[in-house]
């Protein structure tokens, strides 16, 4: 079974296999035995080849946080099938929320044609006001939020019509 590990944003493919008495991780050219022993309280002993270290690890779903050598690393475990599915989408694009927060105003309607840079909506997060503008000229296909609504990061706020139509 193959997984993609996005470590602090960089993607690495890896495969884990069992060898007698150990687990072996294959990542690109490299391949090494590895082990992980829980020491209690979120602390683990990690082994990768000859390297051994203690680390604090927390996980939630496919997100892993590792505190190692005084630095915290964020790792996303991605199933390659999901990546494939994501690349299959496309065509129409969207304006996403750059951060979690609350929608203040929505300044466009479905069917409206907007110019690049035009204000689509404003939102607020942790006392900061942010203006979301159109990344390019186009037609609004869908508005997926309303003033007062709380949205997570990377939520689709406004969807554009497919470009072929929008540029007509």
């Amino acid at each position: 079974m193959k997984k993609i590990l996005a470590i602090d944003g960089e993607q690495y493919a890896c495969t884990l296999t069992r060898t007698p008495g150990s687990l072996r991780l294959q990542a690109g050219e490299r391949s090494f035995d590895c082990a992980l022993d829980a020491l209690g309280d979120g602390r683990y002993r990690v082994r990768a080849g000859d390297a051994r270290r203690e680390a604090l690890i927390a996980q939630h779903g496919d997100q892993v946080w590792i505190h190692l050598d005084g630095r915290t690393h964020t790792i996303q475990r991605i199933n390659p099938l999901d990546l494939l599915a994501a690349s299959g989408r496309g065509g129409a694009d969207s304006a996403l929320s750059p951060m979690p927060g609350t929608i203040l105003t929505v300044q466009v309607k479905v069917g409206e044609t907007v110019k690049s840079g035009q204000v689509l909506l404003t939102m607020e997060s942790m006392k900061l006001e942010v203006t979301i503008t159109a990344p390019h000229d186009g037609e609004i296909a869908e508005v997926l939020c309303a003033p007062g609504q709380s949205v997570p990061v990377k939520a689709t706020l406004v969807r554009f019509a497919a470009k072929a139509e929008a540029t007509s």
Binding site: K3, D8, C14, G42, V64, L128
Partner: protein, 493 residues
């Protein structure tokens, strides 16, 4: 009048500052309560208070800004004093008045002084009249019709500020006359939303200035002292993230000048309580009055670390009517202190606020390390409030020792589950200009390329191993290889 001890204190705030105020109040044997909106969960402060009072409002922030609501719960609980912390209603004269009408003391200066200093324009005029320097400026209220023109006449670049503002909220630099109108409109909206007051003024923007402030304290018997300065120039988006004392910029003479100016302003205002006078400090040693904050500052702990005073205890004593009981000469400083603000934000994405759950929390400790935390393991961090989670404060015999301790304490801090700025703060501390003390408020912007540089992912194999092996699915799949392959595994590689 003989001192009236505070017996029941309501802390009308949340997060780290509520916890910090509660610690001092509890050690003084005072019964304590805090407020809390029904939408909030977790938090360290509720664990430290004797009571937790519900305040209602359309949003959590609205509840914390609702004077009537705070007065109501204070009265119902039987508070004899309310400490407002910083932010929210801490500089709101209506709260001070509303409490006074209910016979409850407000831990802060009189409503008149709050109003004087809260109106940036009146405050500037007050200070100018006393002979202290302020930067060239234009005030909207003087003649709204000509404001834009007068603003430009101050000379670009200019800084737009809400007349009722503070803490950097709603401030915008304008370097290009073409965007002036848009920026004025945005600043006005923000001023209305955060301070209920859309009036503005502009000031000449001093390029690459330092932000230096002085802690002052006055009692109700006419005594005013200062506790030295704090250097607060390390800012992103006008928000301080690292503060220190003493300032690496000041000569002993300049320090005396600026501290005495601050104490002089406080004395002129008949100031009672803890307050901070902020100055813009230019490269040539000139300094201008910026504003006076009539409350405790986020960065007050660095002053406590070098003077040995507990400023919250002093606030409470003054509020009880006690005289300071010491002279300026009794306030000495020892060593150097630095504060780091640990925020839920992603510096790699333009400091965008981060949310999540703190799955694991280990805080720094040891000699010279103090943590003023507002969070606990298991807590959910939402987007309702500002992103400050906790403050790491260190003390060293000199600046070099303080920096070394700060860097070690950052490495000892593990907060897993929410993106924070700890690695970014460490890169700032490691920057040669920071080490040299040679920086201005433009420092983080000017050095953003260096500072945003990601750490090289060193222990890559270890991280991959930990991530893969903590994945049940992956380990199970590896282990369910048919027995024949498993047995052959040893020979095939």
């Amino acid at each position: 009048m003989s001192p009236q001890p505070i017996r029941r204190l309501l802390v009308a705030n949340r997060g780290e500052i509520a916890a910090r105020i509660l610690r001092t109040a509890r050690a003084r044997g005072i019964s304590t309560a805090i407020v809390r909106h029904p939408d909030e969960e977790g938090g360290l402060a509720p664990r430290l208070a004797d009571a937790c009072l519900t305040i209602n409002g359309a949003t959590p922030v609205a509840a914390y800004l609702d004077v009537a609501e705070i007065v109501r719960v204070a009265r119902e609980w039987g508070a004899d004093a309310v400490h407002p912390g910083y932010g929210f209603l801490s500089e709101n004269a209506r709260l001070a008045r509303g409490l006074a009408e209910a016979g409850i003391r407000f831990v802060g200066p009189t409503p008149e002084v709050i109003e004087l200093m809260g109106d940036k324009i009146r405050a500037r005029n007050f200070v100018v009249e006393r002979g202290f320097p302020v930067a060239p400026s234009a005030v909207e209220a003087d003649d709204p019709a000509t404001f834009a023109r007068r603003a430009l006449a101050v000379g670009l670049p200019i800084l737009i500020k809400p007349a009722a503002g503070g803490g950097g909220k709603g401030m915008r630099i304008v370097r290009d006359a073409a965007v002036l109108e848009t920026e004025l409109a945005t600043a006005r909206r923000e001023g209305e939303r955060y301070f209920g007051d859309g009036r503005l003024f502009v000031e000449r923007y001093v390029e690459r200035p330092r932000h230096i402030e002085v802690q002052v304290l006055g009692d109700s018997h006419g005594n005013v002292v200062h506790f030295g300065e704090r250097e607060c120039s390390v800012q992103r988006r006008f928000q301080k993230i690292i503060e220190e004392t003493p300032s690496p910029a000041l000569t002993p003479q300049k320090r005396a000048d600026i501290c005495e100016a601050a104490a002089g302003i406080a004395r002129a205002a008949g100031y009672v309580g803890a307050g901070t006078v902020e100055f813009i400090y230019g490269a040539g040693g000139e300094f201008y009055f910026l504003e006076m904050n009539t409350r405790l500052q986020v960065e007050h702990p660095v002053t406590e670390m070098v003077t040995g005073f507990d400023l919250v205890a002093e606030q409470l004593r003054v509020c009880e009517g006690e005289a300071l009981g010491y002279a300026q000469s009794a306030i000495t400083t020892q060593g150097h202190s630095i504060e780091l603000r640990i925020c839920a934000e992603d510096p790699a994405q333009g400091f965008v606020p981060a949310t999540g759950t703190i799955h694991l929390l280990r805080e720094a400790s040891g000699p010279g390390v103090r943590v003023d935390s507002g969070v606990h393991q298991g807590q959910r961090v939402g987007s309702d409030f500002d992103p400050l989670l906790s403050k790491l404060i260190v003390h060293g015999r000199d600046r070099r020792e303080a920096i070394a301790r700060a860097r070690q304490a950052l490495r000892d801090t593990a907060l897993l589950g929410v993106t924070t700025n700890t690695a970014y703060l460490d890169r700032v501390l490691a920057h040669p200009l920071f080490a040299a003390g040679d920086y201005s408020t433009a420092f983080l912007d000017e050095q953003s390329a260096v500072l945003s540089g990601k750490d090289e992912v060193q222990p890559l194999d270890l991280l991959m191993a930990a991530a893969a092996l903590s994945d049940r699915q992956l380990v199970d799949a590896a282990s369910s290889v048919p027995a024949i392959y498993a047995a052959m595994g040893g020979w095939r590689n």
